[in-house]
Symmetry: C2
Subunit: 126 residues, 2 copies
């Protein structure tokens, strides 16, 4: 992975983390492609960025998520897409609730010159 | 997706289904690349085909899985890889246990001229 690509990937991931902390879902325009799909555990697939923004807004409020950290374990570029294996740590804003460790696969795609999440699936480690 | 690719993808998926029904994990040599990784819900990532075979052997026995059906929802070719979004139905051999519906993302890669699963992650719909 080139330093430029590494920087682009990290920028998008940091934008997601900031959106979760701030609760400002409009920031997800810079994270997901317009026709992205997410596959959340315990729910059906959600298609389209606007529906994905609604999903995250409800999930963050429902679970009382305080912050999230994403760590790229592996990124492979292939053609005009790439796929990432990563590790996520969810920190809850509720006292006494321990962080949740999850792992994820994201298929990345360029949209308007920026690398974004095109397919996003995750599950908890425990 | 070309008819030839569609046939290759379906063949690998049918091989997985047959391996689950028969319990013969050696068939997974034709399903996973040698350095494949799986990301199962409730467990850490498992790396390498031999470890993956052990995972499935234990999971099929532990959950008393009778059969599995895979349905490709979407397949996108990109460079020398492809990614699939799919739906899986797990049928249990225990009386009265209802089937489990899951969704998955598989990153495909060619190995020895055959299309195989290189990264495999899934989670339950409910």
């Amino acid at each position: 992975m080139s330093p430029a690509l590494q920087r682009d990937i990290a920028k998008t991931n940091r934008t997601f983390e900031e959106a979760v902390t701030s609760g400002d879902m409009s920031a997800l325009d810079a994270v997901y492609t317009v026709d992205a799909r997410i596959l959340p555990p315990g729910a059906a697939m959600v298609s389209g960025r606007e529906n994905i923004k609604q999903f995250w807004q409800a999930a963050i409020a429902g679970l009382n998520v305080g912050s999230i950290q994403l760590e790229t374990v592996d990124f492979t570029l292939s053609g005009d897409t790439g796929y990432e294996i990563g590790r996520a740590t969810l920190n809850f804003a509720t006292d006494g609730v321990p962080p949740m460790i999850a792992k994820y696969v994201v298929v990345w795609k360029q949209e308007d010159g920026a690398w974004k999440w095109h397919v996003d699936i995750w599950n908890p480690n425990a």
